[in-house]
């Protein structure tokens, strides 16, 4: 692709020509708009972009982006996205997933995804409920809260998504808010430009089922930690003390909730190789012939494999 200074694709190009079926006022609209803008600003083309969704209201987002869209199964967007990215590292791969999709049914993938650090942008729409199944508590709804869709107060505790991403090794961690699109665009861009697995939690009001943490409720509570001087970057040469200091600051911030709710970039760790780099280190041909781009037959359609080394290895006579 020719290098262009002015991006070729505009927000309009990324808007799919179909009706959106989220509820009026849903926070998802904000996230979607931020995605459009981020894509347009980054100048990637639709055919290089793959948006991989889970199942849920959030998991419909990929339909509204004019690019390759893959609607996976509930909880499975990350492994599918991983397969796509590893097979063709030239693609820009996004995951759009709900809080239930990510931290309930998909939690094993979430946790183990952190161990790989594949270069994917993981956007989790956190509305604290299961939107598409009509408002049950999700793993991010705190214990004892009762949204209007619950017959009883929530009997299970909640998981702090940023903390889980940290614990499991995500190398870029941030939080945005569905209605702060300007910040969200910046966060999506940073997450995408980060080489490695980036986790972006987006606080997303669900006006239909979550009557506790609404747009009004969030109003005035949110602030940007980076604007307040929080430095999320783990320096390449970080000694133990620096690391500990960042971790302590991180923990301090991620547990903050209530009157003041932090957003922004919480952690940037470029000191770990991506999974792609790790593979290439093992098998240098990966850089030249990733799985999607490997020639596997000659012009007559015959296998290219040279059987001789296998014969030698398993020679019986």
């Amino acid at each position: 692709m020719a290098v262009e200074t002015k991006p070729r694709w505009t927000v309009k190009d990324f808007r799919a020509p179909y009706e959106v079926d989220w509820c009026p006022g849903c926070g998802d609209f904000g996230i979607l708009n931020a995605i459009y803008q981020a894509l347009a600003q980054m100048g990637v083309s639709p055919h290089e972009t793959v948006v991989v969704g889970g199942i849920g209201c959030s998991g419909k987002a990929q339909y509204y982006v004019n690019a390759y869209g893959v609607h996976t199964l509930h909880g499975r967007p990350l492994p599918v996205a991983t397969g796509i990215k590893l097979a063709n590292p030239n693609l820009k791969v996004f995951v759009v997933s709900g809080d239930g999709d990510s931290m309930a049914i998909g939690a094993a993938h979430f946790v183990n995804g952190g161990r790989r650090n594949v270069d994917i942008t993981y956007i989790m729409f956190n509305n604290e409920v299961y939107g598409l199944t009509k408002g049950q508590a999700s793993p991010t709804l705190p214990l004892g809260l009762q949204t209007k869709s619950l017959p009883e107060p929530n009997i299970q505790g909640n998981i702090n998504a940023l903390m889980l991403a940290f614990t499991t090794g995500y190398t870029w961690i941030g939080r945005g808010y569905a209605y702060n699109i300007k910040q969200l665009v910046r966060l999506i861009r940073e997450a995408t430009e980060h080489p490695g697995l980036a986790f972006l939690e987006v606080l997303q009001p669900c006006p239909t089922y979550n009557n506790l943490h609404t747009k009004d409720w969030y109003q005035g509570r949110l602030y940007d930690i980076n604007e307040e001087g929080y430095d999320p970057v783990l320096p390449p040469d970080a000694d133990d003390a620096t690391r500990r200091d960042l971790y302590a600051r991180f923990m301090e911030k991620v547990f903050e909730w209530g009157d003041r709710i932090p957003t922004g970039v919480f952690l940037v760790n470029r000191n770990l190789p991506t999974f792609e780099e790790r593979i290439a280190e093992r098998q240098p041909h990966y850089r030249i012939h990733p799985p999607a781009l490997t020639r596997i037959r000659d012009d007559e359609g015959r296998s290219l494999l040279d059987i001789q080394p296998f014969y030698e290895e398993h020679r019986a006579r």
């Binding site: 339909y63 996976t72 097979a87 799985p291 494999l305 001789q308 398993h314």
Partner: protein, 646 residues
């Protein structure tokens, strides 16, 4: 007169004690000496300590196709092997054992199942021997039956070795496997050079070890010559000259190499017996050389579970990578939801399913064919897939290429059925030719140059066969969506009743297209005369035992035909006329005779007899000869094969 060049040999011992190495040495040496080899491994789901054993069948004249239950020569390290296998040795055969084990009470053999103890005691009592609760009785009975006994003072031999070559006793003891093999070969009068060569190959990276073990061979040959007579022992082996190179492979390896030959570039797995070895093999061979001299290869990812394994492989497949995963029953059970997704999204994907004893955790290291119906119908809703079964190790290689082809040609998941029996059957075979099965990639959409960016109908309904050209993720100028939901031609979710019906029809039509496209010889194989007196039908790993059994019955004047079904979905209706020579006999490693039910469902054909085994162990041809005779002569409707000591 001794039997020359035909032998069934068994070695047993606790898991982790080197039984495998011994069997490998034995097999390789025999093969180097020109013999054809089939090895079969039985072991527990355990790392160290429980009983495992290895059968090696040799033949100078032809490739053995199944193991034997009757053992010509048993070699044992310890009492448990004696207890479990002494009764299987044929008159005129021999038992090599440690003198120390000659009177071990069964109760002291800690891992011997209570049931085995009881049955041993019962048999020994019935046979009227004196000692009924220890190995002593077994040896007594063996002798009575004309089995030759070769007690070996292992400890002394180690000592001799240690002294003669000035190595610590501990090191000398590590030659135990070589000892066992050498004892056997010496008894068989097989030239020791082959064993020495095998040692040189197996321990190629450790010259010291080779040296000591080769020395041990000489010690043993000398010891046997001086201490035991093999006059009454009925078997002998000699080196023979054979044409052509041979490899030695099991099905894990054959499938792995076959997948590489078939252009696999992405494999995922979660460890599980008996599938793991395939993926671990691929992990050790991620880079290969092409015939054109380039280096390329396969990315192998160990995932967090089987759900992730199949999901990740699906993702890779969407980009055009040839993708596969390998698993066994429990893992396959977890893959079912994503299997439906690949079917719905018309994603090509191969799942190699190594069947093992079920249901549930079942018997992880024992064989079974009980997953057939599950493979056919796994997943909610009506989701087309191809189910394909290999009958032996060589087929497994070529079928690995074929199944990768089918997946892309018909744009659906392919379940390639193999089983634990094949996975732990090692055979000598001619070097497979990767170019024999051409690589076919199905229809792939190619964009026009510079057509701008447009939405493309990935799931175009404008198709007779049901096939719409695949649009690989990343194809320039276009994009589309995909979903496990019902969808439009562009791949967007829809609940429109009319589109739903058309798409459902389109997907299912591909099964008919596959049935038309796949050549008959890939769908099934027929063996034996057209005017046979009976027909055997089966699928999968039973093939070898059936073919050998039919040969033997033919010698007895019972001429059978064998129809081996390879393609199980879509079912090859054209086999119906081949089943007309009655009686029709099903052979299967299940309790519920699944193929018989499938025949009824697919063809309305009723089998007359069923020969079943579901103890977790494969058929030997000997068992099938007996069972077929029972069926043919005594008209037994169902014969269940079960060995007490297997």
């Amino acid at each position: 007169m001794k039997t020359v060049g035909e032998l069934s040999w068994r070695i047993g011992g606790p898991q982790g004690s080197g039984v495998d190495t011994a069997a490998r040495l034995f097999s390789l040496a025999a093969s180097l000496g020109g013999l054809n080899v089939l090895g079969r491994r039985e072991y527990y789901s355990n790392i160290i300590g429980r009983h495992s054993y290895y059968d090696v069948r040799l033949s100078a004249t032809r490739q053995p196709r199944s193991h034997r239950i009757r053992v010509d020569l048993l070699t044992s390290f310890e009492a448990e092997t004696l207890a479990r296998h002494a009764l299987s040795v044929v008159p005129g055969g021999g038992i090599i054992y440690n003198v120390k084990d000659e009177d071990t009470p069964f109760l002291r053999i800690t891992f011997l199942d209570e049931r085995v103890r009881q049955d041993l005691a019962r048999v020994l009592t019935e046979e009227g021997v004196e000692h009924t609760t220890s190995t002593k009785g077994l040896l007594e009975l063996a002798e009575k039956r004309g089995v030759q006994l070769y007690p070996v003072p292992y400890d002394e031999l180690f000592k001799t070795l240690s002294e003669r070559f000035d190595v610590p006793l501990g090191i000398a003891q590590r030659t135990r496997n070589t000892l066992a093999v050498a004892l056997s070969f010496a008894l068989l009068e097989f030239p020791r050079e082959f064993l020495k060569e095998a040692l040189a190959r197996v321990f190629a990276s450790k010259p010291k070890v080779v040296e000591l073990n080769q020395a041990a061979v000489d010690v043993i040959y000398d010891y046997m010559a001086s201490s035991h007579s093999n006059l009454a022992f009925d078997f002998r082996l000699e080196g023979v000259t054979q044409d052509g190179p041979r490899m030695m492979l099991n099905a894990n390896q054959a499938v792995a190499i076959g997948k590489l030959a078939g252009g696999l570039t992405f494999q995922t797995y979660y460890p599980i017996s008996p599938a793991t070895d395939e993926s671990v093999y691929l992990e050790a061979h991620t880079t290969y050389r092409t015939r054109e001299g380039d280096e390329q290869g396969v990315v192998v990812v160990q995932t967090e579970d089987e759900i992730s394994a199949i999901a990740m492989a699906s993702g890779a497949a969407l980009t055009g990578a040839r993708a596969a995963t390998a698993t066994s029953g429990p893992g396959f059970s977890l893959m079912v939801e994503q299997l439906g997704w690949t079917s719905m999204t018309e994603t090509p994907l191969v799942i190699t399913l190594y069947m093992r004893g079920g249901p549930s955790t079942g018997m992880p290291t024992r064989t079974d064919q009980g997953d057939l119906f599950f493979a056919l119908f796994a997943g909610h809703g009506e989701a087309p897939r191809i189910v394909y079964a290999s009958g032996d190790v060589e087929e497994a290689f070529y079928d690995a290429i074929r199944t990768l082809n089918y997946a892309e040609m018909f744009q659906m998941p392919v379940i390639h059925l193999v089983d634990k029996a094949l996975a732990s059957t090692t055979v000598t075979l001619p070097v497979p030719d990767p170019t024999q099965v051409p690589i076919r990639r199905g229809e792939i959409f190619v964009p026009e140059e510079d057509e701008g960016q447009r939405i493309v109908k990935r799931f175009s309904l404008d198709t007779e066969t049901g096939i719409s050209p695949r649009v690989l993720l990343g194809t320039p100028h276009v994009h589309h969506w995909m979903t496990g939901g019902e969808h439009t031609e562009e791949g967007r979710v829809t609940e429109d009743p009319v589109i739903r019906v058309r798409m459902h029809d389109k997907r299912l039509a591909k099964l008919e297209y596959a049935a038309k496209t796949i050549p008959a010889e890939e769908k099934f194989q027929v063996f034996g005369p057209e005017d046979a007196d009976f027909t055997v039908i089966s699928w999968g790993s039973t093939k070898g035992a059936i073919l050998e059994a039919l040969e033997i019955l033919e010698q007895k004047g019972l001429r059978g035909r064998f129809v081996q079904v390879k393609l199980l979905m879509p079912f090859p209706k054209e086999i119906a006329p081949l089943l007309e020579r009655r009686p029709l006999i099903l052979v299967e490693l299940t309790r519920t005779a699944q193929l018989a039910r499938l025949l009824r469902m697919e063809l309305g054909v009723e089998v007359d007899h069923r020969i079943l085994k579901y103890s977790g162990r494969p058929f030997s041809f000997e068992e099938l000869v007996d069972a077929l005779e029972a069926v043919l002569e005594r008209r037994e409707e169902e014969v269940t094969v079960l060995q007490l000591f297997e």
